[in-house]
Symmetry: C2
Subunit: 217 residues, 2 copies
DNA sequence: GGCATCAATCTACCCGTGGTAACTTACCGT
DNA sequence: ACGGTAAGTTACCACGGGTAGATTGATGCC
């Protein structure tokens, strides 16, 4: 109800309105959005809250990202790029299939460790950005399938894809588990993945159990 | 805008308002909710839509389930019970660790196949019911860890939990993959899981690659 | 330096949807 | 029959996503 000419909310040092370039503003908004979405959850995060954090008002967000979901998608897209960079760099440094699997897995866990906000975006708000997150998984799956194909040339494409799905799913779950129980280190998680994916339980199952050897027909 | 005394929507045989017992009504609502949530997605599903499908009005849903989220949680809880029933029954029929892993995995995929709506609830709306779905995973993880403990008595508890996380994560991912590509059968998915979890990639990686044997230090 | 121009930004608003208060009515026991 | 109670309804509020139109700050032109 105040006269708009006054607008005397508070800002003493702020000349009431600062104009900022497009790229800069979008970076600011993305950063604020990741933070707000991560700490309040997508559903409970209001656009006003994101806007306030940036220091602007709601319509600004809409001119840049179109909708609330668009904003979330932009956040996810950013995380996607970073994730592929990190894991492919790790795999490139490996000298053989086992090390590739180990270093790539390790890089994944480390990335999520360092980027806690991105983590909660990807694995807590998955249902809203379902398609985008599936896109990330497809990216990782294709990448891993290609690596596996080099290590096991006699396996057909479908099987390679299936193995990659197993690894991606296992890593996701281990990551969430680690977030719940901080005593599980990156190396622990990597080791457990290697136990199954590389070694296989057959070698770890004791013969103490009935007939464990006679069943593998 | 019609006079409420007429209520002439359609129902010729319906005496304008039928009273239904509590249990029966809750069953109806749960069924409608699963369907509506699955086909429109939780965020885009309105309580009015669920109510209309049941043939009642909104407040009825609230007297029974308290909130929209409460309704979703009830759906998830129901799926949880059924899932444990199905997988534990399958494992109980197995004669050894390998068969247990195989039959349990197979039962999981089959269950999701038959209950497509429950599937999309559990793996598409995960972020809203995050805690509840995590509870389901914990249930499955504990169950699998117990089975693994019998097969590998010399593995410590943490490692068993880690292995169980790997298996649960891998199965989830394989299930989603199957939903996207229907050419992947239940047996395919089960086999790919067994390739890694039971056999291990080491046995499938050809020696053609450089130094695959010399790195396992 | 002064002014036109354009885009960035704000104010004020709409409307769909989750959620609730208060009234009504069908069924059940007596 | 008849009252009590639980099942249902209508009518409403509030909050948050999304938008139209006024506003203002930087930029270039003279």
């Amino acid at each position: 109800m105040e006269s708009p000419a006054q607008a005397g909310t508070a800002g003493p040092a702020s000349p009431r309105r600062r104009r900022v370039g497009r790229e800069e503003r979008e970076r600011q908004i993305l950063g604020a959005a990741v933070a707000v979405f991560a700490e309040r959850g997508y559903a409970n995060a209001s656009m006003d809250a994101v806007a306030e954090r940036v220091g602007v008002t709601k319509p600004v967000l809409y001119t840049h990202f179109g909708s609330k979901e668009g904003l979330l998608l932009a956040c996810v897209a950013q995380a996607r790029t970073e994730l592929l960079d990190v894991t492919s760099a790790a795999a490139a440094a490996a000298a053989g299939p086992e090390e590739m699997l180990r270093l790539g897995t390790r890089a994944f866990f480390t990335f999520l460790d360092e980027r806690a906000a991105a983590f909660s975006l990807l694995y807590s708000e998955a249902s809203i950005a379902a398609d985008a997150v599936e896109g990330i998984r497809a990216q990782q799956t294709d990448f891993i399938a290609a690596l596996l194909g080099a290590a096991a040339p006699d396996a057909d494409t479908r099987r390679l894809q299936g193995w990659a799905q197993v690894i991606v799913g296992a890593c996701e779950r281990l990551a969430v588990w680690r977030a719940q129980d901080r005593r599980v280190t990156v190396d622990d998680a990597t080791e457990y993945l290697m136990d199954l994916a590389w070694t296989g339980l057959r070698d770890r199952a004791s013969g103490a159990d009935r007939a464990s050897g006679t069943l593998s027909g």
